[in-house]
């Protein structure tokens, strides 16, 4: 049984009513087929209505759905010949980030992504998809390797954030993230990053300095979790729902800000309803993204990436007089 989200309650109720009626008719001579048909129609309409009018907090819940497809799910759906490559060659292998080489529609690529677990045991092993520095350093090693062999790099972003732990600080969490931002800027191969779940802060961005950044329709990308924002801004984590709206963290928000290229549609109700079909949506966008980038020279790729991030910012560059007045 797939976990139901709070905004899906009306659907669950209607569905159980329909089931009830069906059971009733099968046990008696009464013909209720017309009523059942009407209810089915109502269900379809209600489903569309709910899933087409998702509020930011609904999307947060879908993005966090325990059965939401992970990096490895998409790797198995989208790529052939995947070989996982482990370790940062310095400290260890961080299971919160997976990476390797594979074939996408005939092209060898490097694939790297945050990896959550599907159950408690796997989540503990993978630290809930929250990397340590060695995870980011493994990612960078694989990116440099991709550059050497001129393979495009595909990154899947899916993390609540970099792990806030003692060992992570001792081994330089800040430096590991910062290094990736800088090194990704200079890579001579196409980089495509796709936010598939939660894109939490610097820990997400460390796989995100790409030529193209796309987001699944119900994924989020933010400087801080809604709970964190609520507790800092209003000293109350319970206001997370309000923060999810105020912070503008959904795919449509980021598209509007010109931070991402494409919103990848999700199957009705969220990616977890049909992984296979969802992968097809990803494949289409990946293919067109790679096509757009394949003719760019090494210099043009670096230049395009530079300008993509260089232009992000909202401020006023004009009113000098007004600024100086305020300073008096």
């Amino acid at each position: 049984m797939v976990k139901t989200l709070s905004f899906e309650e009306p659907l669950v109720q209607l569905r159980s009513k329909i089931t009830e009626l069906k059971e009733f008719t099968s046990n008696t001579e009464v013909d209720l087929s017309k009523e059942i048909e009407q209810l089915e129609e109502r269900f379809t309409n209600l489903e569309k209505d709910i899933y087409h009018h998702l509020r930011p907090w609904d999307r947060v819940q879908i993005a966090r759905h325990p059965e939401r497809p992970t990096t490895l799910d998409y790797i198995h759906e989208l790529f052939d010949d995947f070989i996982e490559l482990h370790g940062d060659r310095t400290f260890g292998d961080d299971a919160a980030i997976v990476g390797g080489i594979a074939c996408f529609e005939g092209t060898p690529i490097t694939i790297i992504g945050h990896q959550r677990g599907k159950d408690t045991k796997e989540n503990i092993r993978r630290n809930f998809g929250m990397p340590h520095p060695e995870g980011y350093r493994k990612a960078l090693r694989l990116m440099k390797q991709a550059e050497k062999f001129k393979r495009p790099i595909i990154c899947f972003i899916d993390t609540k954030g970099a792990y806030p732990g003692k060992a992570a600080e001792e081994r330089g969490q800040s430096e590991a993230i910062a290094r990736n931002l800088l090194e990704m800027a200079g890579l001579k191969v196409p980089i495509i990053s796709i936010v598939i779940g939660e894109g939490g802060s610097g820990g997400a961005l460390a796989l995100g300095v790409a030529n193209h950044v796309h987001m699944l329709e119900n994924s989020t990308y933010s400087v801080i979790s809604p709970e964190g924002a609520a507790s800092i801004l209003w000293k109350d984590a319970a206001l997370a729902q309000k923060a999810a709206e105020a912070m503008r963290i959904t795919a449509p928000d980021l598209k509007e800000e010109n931070i991402i290229e494409e919103i990848i549609p999700e199957v009705l109700g969220g990616a977890h309803k049909d992984v296979h079909k969802q992968a097809q949506f990803l494949k289409d966008v990946l293919q067109s993204s790679l096509d757009k980038l394949k003719d760019l020279s090494e210099e043009e790729l670096i230049e395009q990436r530079y300008h993509k991030f260089r232009k992000i910012g909202t401020f006023s560059d004009k009113d000098f007089q007004k600024t100086s007045d305020k300073l008096k």
Binding site: P164, K166, G208, S222, G313
Partner: protein, 287 residues
């Protein structure tokens, strides 16, 4: 004091109006300062003369961006840039612009970083100095833009870029745009470095979060002031996560040095000379 921010820096006057307000109830406001580290009470004037370093315990009190410029660069050499950029309110957070405006008046800066071109023992450098008295030095669009423009200026001049960091991290009120400033400053640093230019990062108290996880950690040479708090995640968050007591020196400059994350911890009294020597050793012609 009525003068534009540009005028302020041309004259390069030491700012005599700085008052340390912490624990002011126990000492006369302004005239005396009590060291938060060792409780030593001293004349504010004497603390100022000693580069705001406590003469009793060597605690490095926070400096404003202007005090840092005065202390660090050759006298009268600093010309600020981009003082006109202005913060807007992209997410329409109630009270945000009012808070920024109030900090503008308090600090005389347009945002939490002061950038410009100056000289260090006669050599041209581009500097960015963050000011933790302005919204805790947090990085939003204007801070990201000013730092990026300063880096680009340094690249254009083939001059060393020197940053003094002091920041609580990303500016929450600007949402994901503030996160993206980490990427923006980093792509500019990549370009600066790819052309063989020098970048020196000097981390001062405190340097955390998104600033720590971007340009602050990307120096060709990373220095820090003694005892400065430097880290990615906040101490309380970590304590809640790991459920163990953290050592007292956790996330201090000395702790980072011991763990291989810094090139050196340099006292404020030695900073100008040390950085100047580093710059000298990177001059491309024979010295």
């Amino acid at each position: 004091m009525i003068m534009s921010i540009r005028d302020l820096f041309k004259k390069n006057k030491p700012n005599k109006n700085i008052t340390i307000t912490r624990e002011q109830h126990s000492v006369p406001e302004g005239i005396m300062t009590k060291c938060p580290e060792c409780n030593h009470v001293m004349l504010t004037k004497d603390l100022q003369k000693n580069k705001k370093v406590c003469p009793n315990c060597q605690y490095h009190h926070k400096m404003t961006a202007k005090e840092r410029i005065d202390d660090f660069l050759d006298e009268g050499s600093f010309q600020s840039i981009d003082d006109h950029l202005q913060t807007v309110n992209p997410l329409n957070f109630p009270g945000y612009i009012e808070k920024v405006t109030s900090d503008m008046q308090k600090t005389g800066l347009n945002e939490a970083v002061l950038t410009g071109v100056g000289e260090l023992e006669g050599r041209q450098v581009v500097v960015a100095v963050m000011d933790s008295f302005f919204r805790m030095g947090s990085m939003g669009s204007v801070v990201g833009e000013k730092i990026t423009r300063a880096i680009e200026k340094a690249t254009e001049l083939s001059a060393p870029f020197i940053v003094f960091t002091a920041s609580g991290g990303a500016r929450m009120q600007e949402g994901v745009i503030s996160l993206m400033q980490m990427a923006k400053t980093s792509v500019a640093l990549e370009r600066h470095g790819a052309k063989g230019n020098l970048f020196i990062s000097i981390m001062t108290h405190p340097t955390t979060g998104g600033v720590s996880a971007s340009f602050a950690s990307l120096g060709d040479i990373n220095l820090a002031e003694p005892k400065a708090l430097i880290g990615f995640a906040g101490r309380r968050v970590i304590e809640q996560t790991v459920r163990e007591k953290l050592p007292n020196d956790f996330q201090t400059a000395e702790f980072l040095l011991e763990h291989g994350q810094l090139d050196a911890v340099v006292s404020r009294h030695e900073m100008r000379k040390t950085v100047s020597t580093i710059v000298k050793l990177h001059v491309r012609e024979a010295i």
